[in-house]
């Protein structure tokens, strides 16, 4: 599904990612853990196609094609989804109409007819229930006046609507209390499937108690320094990143 090879990325001339190798197969959930500033969010943005992130070396193959070549909307249409760490508010643009535009743009890209209003509403009701997002929130302006938890639930709601092949979830747990975390995690788990790959980026192990990963990577200073199973996350929680960092080759 996703194959990242020797990926180097600079932001404003400053190297952030320094040679990432990562392969995720359909049906797998990988977690990337790392301290602040290690390059976690950069990796997420590079995959989604944000401007200002320059790939200086290496490549990213998604379903066999060069992902970096594609515009953000083309990546989304091909099935890449980014769950934002800080979802932006868009006053004046209704959540539900925005999502309808997105879904129908993706359907068009896939050669499918647009969903009509009735089918769309039916689908959105069903998916909103998955993350307990109220009707009121689906109709309000995108993320406008949403609490931290509501924003994150809205991200997962959108993911459920768009049914991506590859979901990159950037710090989906940040700003969530334990109850909201459970709701979000249950929403994510409901979307796990043999056709879908997920990359879950987090600072803390807490999220991974609820979204149990198949593989855990530790990202420090722009490199993956350790890869293991879910027990690696627990070990990090107990020992801290300093332990891993201390063991790194200079």
């Amino acid at each position: 599904m996703l194959k990242i090879e020797n990926l180097h990325v600079e932001v404003e001339g400053k190297p952030i990612l320094r040679g990432i190798d990562l392969e995720i197969n359909a049906g797998e959930v990988h977690a990337i853990m790392g301290p602040n500033g290690s390059g976690k969010s950069t990796l997420a943005y590079v995959l989604a196609g944000r401007e200002g992130y320059e790939v200086t070396e290496g490549q990213v193959l998604y379903k066999g094609q060069d992902l970096i070549e594609l515009a953000p909307e083309a990546r989304a249409a091909e099935g890449v989804f980014l769950g934002f760490q800080y979802p932006v508010a868009i006053p004046g643009v209704s959540n539900i109409y925005f999502l309808k535009a997105a879904l129908n743009a993706i359907r068009k890209h896939r050669g499918q007819d647009p969903l009509d209003a009735i089918d769309f509403m039916k689908l959105s009701k069903e998916k909103a229930a998955l993350v307990q997002l109220s009707d009121d929130l689906t109709k309000r302006s995108v993320n406008d006046g949403f609490s931290g938890g509501e924003k994150k639930r809205n991200e997962i709601f959108q993911m459920a609507m768009l049914e991506p092949s590859l979901a990159v979830l950037d710090e989906t747990d940040s700003g969530l209390d334990i109850d909201a975390l459970k709701v979000v995690a249950e929403g994510v788990n409901a979307l796990r499937g043999p056709e879908r790959a997920m990359l879950v980026i987090t600072h803390y192990q807490r999220l991974l108690d609820h979204i149990v990963p198949d593989v855990v990577h530790v990202l420090i200073d722009g490199r993956i320094v350790r890869t293991g199973n879910k027990d690696l996350a627990r070990q990090l929680e107990a020992d801290g990143y300093a332990e891993v960092r201390g063991g790194m080759q200079p």
Binding site: A48, G49, R50, E51, A71, P72, E73, R75, A76, A77, L82, F84, P87, V88, I90, P91, G92, V93, S94, Y97, F98, L99, K100, A101, A102, L103, A105, I106, H109, V142, Q158, L162
Partner: protein, 405 residues
């Protein structure tokens, strides 16, 4: 006035001999002020950004009375009469109403030269839901050379009455000048919703001058969707306690358009409120100007006044001048003002695109959302829908989002 003087003033008569004495005096004063002070130039502060030369040095044939047409059935209690007729038959009815507020420059020009006008009178009994539509489009086919017309409208709402007035300026008459004046008089507790839609390709200089009595409310929404050169001044005089006004506007410029909105709100009495929200979109080589003044007079304690102007610059060659300002002589007031000029938000744009929305469409969605805040303020649903359609037609890629917003 310089030796040759602006061409536009050559049509000023030497003397006024029609109508009652007070009306002749009104016109003589207006013409006198023009003879003494001329028309504005680039050096006139309030006209600094307006390319006024193309107007004052233009050569125009006098077209007609410039009377707008009433295009809606008149509600009971609403009458529309010709100003010329009333001046001839019952001039005393107009003595305290017409030309009560001195209007400078082009206002004086209109006062000197209008040949007829409309008096829209709303009786005290008229309640909410009464809609009056005025069409300022051109009658007949376009003449071979540029023309000038001087539309004049007086609107009187008797105490306690309510009405919605919708004005549309449409049609294509490049190089022709429309110099309009509308005077609005709101009796105590009266409420007027006033919508103006400008889609005319030509030169326009207009005034709306509003006087408000106790507890009256005036709500104006202007949408400027086209116009080679448009300069509009809205002046509101809050003359008695409890009067409120809300002035909202949306404007677009592209090509080499110049759109210039000036507002003046005079808080002359205590416990009055005013609020202004103007939003504009500038692209191409267009120029947009917003200049708003709120004056709070010494006795106008407990005034609340807010003023906001936000602009979206969609090209590097477009220009926006924004100048909201306050002059406050009272000490117990709540006032705010602010202005912004910016481009589309990159984070919002990326968010939409990351969800699969093509870039052009994402831009259209955000552009429309920016202006929708003003469109939503139109209370009459049919007019709101009409404005929405007109705005979508004006936004690049607006067609693409018609079913989306």
């Amino acid at each position: 006035m310089t030796e040759t003087g602006p061409r536009l003033l050559t049509s000023l008569p030497e003397a006024f001999d029609e109508g009652p004495a007070w009306f002749r005096t009104l016109r003589e004063r207006a013409a006198g002020s023009l003879r003494d002070h001329g028309l504005p130039t680039k050096k006139t502060e309030a006209w600094r950004f307006t390319p006024v030369r193309s107007i004052v040095d233009g050569s125009f044939d006098r077209e007609d009375d410039g009377l707008p047409r009433v295009t809606s059935p008149l509600p009971d209690g609403v009458t529309v009469r010709s100003l010329r007729d009333v001046l001839a038959e019952e001039p005393s009815l107009l003595e305290d109403r017409l030309g009560r507020t001195p209007v400078d420059h082009f206002g004086a020009l209109n006062t000197s030269l209008f040949t007829d006008g409309l008096w829209i009178h709303v009786a005290a009994s008229v309640a909410a839901g009464s809609v009056i539509e005025l069409d300022h489009g051109f009658a007949g086919s376009a003449p071979s050379s540029p023309t000038v017309r001087y539309p004049r409208v007086l609107v009187t709402l008797e105490p306690g009455s309510q009405a919605t007035l919708i004005e549309t300026y449409g049609g294509d008459r490049p190089g022709s000048l429309t110099n309009s004046v509308m005077e609005v008089d709101l009796g105590s507790n009266a409420l007027l919703h006033h919508v103006r839609i400008h889609e005319q390709n030509g030169l326009q200089v207009g005034y709306v001058d509003v006087r408000q009595d106790r507890d009256s409310r005036y709500h104006s929404v202007v949408a400027t969707l086209g116009g080679a050169l448009l300069r509009f001044d809205v002046r509101v005089h809050l003359e008695a306690p409890g009067a409120q006004c809300q002035l909202d506007g949306a404007y677009f410029v592209d090509g080499s358009d110049h759109v210039d909105h000036h507002t003046l709100v005079e808080h002359k009495a205590p416990h009055c409120r005013s609020a202004q929200t103007y939003r504009g979109i500038a692209s191409g080589r267009g120029t947009a100007v917003f200049d708003g003044i709120v004056v709070v007079h010494r006795d106008a304690q407990k005034t609340e006044a807010h003023q906001e102007n936000r602009n979206l610059l969609l090209s590097e060659t477009a220009t926006v001048h924004t100048k909201p300002h306050l002059e406050i002589d009272a000490d117990d007031v709540v006032c705010s003002h602010g202005a912004t000029v910016g481009s589309l938000d990159h984070d919002q744009l990326f968010y939409l695109r990351a969800r699969g929305i093509p870039e052009d469409m994402a831009r259209a969605i955000l552009t429309y959302a920016f202006i929708e805040a003003v469109v939503d303020r139109v209370s009459d649903p049919a007019t709101r829908e009409r404005l929405r359609e007109a705005v979508l037609a004006r936004i690049p890629e607006g067609e693409a989002i018609r079913g989306v917003t």
